[in-house]
Amino acid sequence: MDDYGFWQSWAAVFLAAIGTFIWRFAGVLLASRIPPHSPLMDWVNTMAYAMVAGVLMLILVHPTGILATSGLDDRLLGLAAGVAAMMLTKRIIPSLLCGILMFAASLHLF
């Protein structure tokens, strides 16, 4: 593993910031060109929802860092409990608690 020097580390931070900023900037430019309530805007919305859901499932199924030390079954059980509670109650905080508690219980019991 190579170590980065001072300038290289900060260049990396700067590049990471630019890599995100360009999309935000492009989004602002694009937003003023797409008419509101048009089919195109609906399509942008469904794709945004699908991408966000994709990112979240990626975090849950293929996590990095400390979450990776839990089992896939623990995480999916937690998700399923949260979603089921949400379907039944339509209340976010109790459902969130339900999912988290199931995850914690699954980590420690099974």
Binding site: M1, D2, D3, Y4, Q8, S9, W10, A11, A12, V13, L15, A16, A17, I18, G19, T20, F21, W23, R24, F25, A26, G27, V28, L30, S32, P36, P39, M41, D42, V44, N45, T46, M47, A48, Y49, A50, M51, V52, A53, G54, L56, M57, L58, I59, L60, H62, G65, L67, T69, R75, G78, L79, G82, V83, M86, I92, L96, G99, I100, F103
Partner: protein
């Protein structure tokens, strides 16, 4: 909810309501997620200023995690740039969608102010905007976003700083549970989306992305987004058209 008519709120009142909404739960969850990022970044060899700058300037979790993991293996700057750019590409669609939800065109802001506003956009504030849209009049949604996202940002930065120094204090078992909160929270928010097409998109994108990941890597988010979003859109527009009348 407040008994007074939401149309009568001033922008300042709206910002305060949004800040309170944020502090109810999502701000802590996001602070915890950023704390999780800081622990990964510290392991990867970041100093505290680099961690804070990354959280503040990138402000998009998947890109930050990709950055820290590549940094830890000593990847080239070019690889880091490409990976972060790919991982945060969804920002493009989220910004367009958020601008539409808060009716940004009504406010006639100069370009630089729109860019600054969107610099604070994150998944959590985007998902909450969709809920605020159903509760408040359109001219108050931008103030709502300002109050919400700035509160979230402060908690995120505090979480980053805390997380950098915290791993010594919190047992790994508790840390795992804390980091689990944000993805579940946002997932629960978006599966309750108002439009059927958007709920369908959540199901399609969420199912496709982890399946594609082993073959497509970082590209899986983009592919799952385009395919999942298009399928949901096509279903809602054409196949489900005939029973649209009964739905409304």
């Amino acid at each position: 909810m407040s008994k007074s008519d939401p149309v009568a709120f001033t922008p300042a009142q709206m910002r305060r309501i949004a800040a309170i909404d944020a502090v109810r739960a999502p701000a802590y969850a996001l602070g915890a997620t950023m704390a999780g990022f800081a622990t990964i970044a510290r392991e990867a060899g970041f100093d505290v200023w680099m961690v804070i700058s990354t959280s503040a300037l990138v402000w998009g979790m998947p890109g930050q995690v990709a950055f820290a993991s590549l940094y830890s293996v000593g990847a080239s700057l070019f690889i880091i740039f490409v990976a972060v750019t790919l991982a945060n590409m969804r920002m493009l669609l989220m910004v367009v969608s958020a601008a539409d939800m808060m009716h940004l065109h009504l406010h006639k802001l100069p370009l630089w102010r729109r860019v600054v506003l969107m610099q604070f956009l994150a998944i959590t504030s985007w998902a909450h905007l969709a809920i605020a849209e159903t509760k408040y009049p359109r001219h108050l949604l931008m103030p709502y976003f300002q109050g919400f996202s700035l509160t979230l940002f402060s908690f995120g930065i505090m979480g980053t700083i805390g997380g950098y120094f915290l791993p010594d204090l919190v047992p790994p078992d508790v840390l795992r549970i804390i980091i689990f909160i944000t993805p579940i929270y946002i997932f629960l928010l978006i599966i309750m989306a108002q439009q059927k097409a958007n709920r369908l998109a959540v199901a399609c994108g969420g199912a496709l992305c982890p399946l594609l990941y082993p073959v497509a890597g970082e590209w899986s988010i983009l592919i799952a987004g385009v395919i999942g979003g298009s399928l949901a859109m096509l279903y809602a527009r054409y196949i489900a058209k005939w029973h649209l009348v009964q739905d409304q």
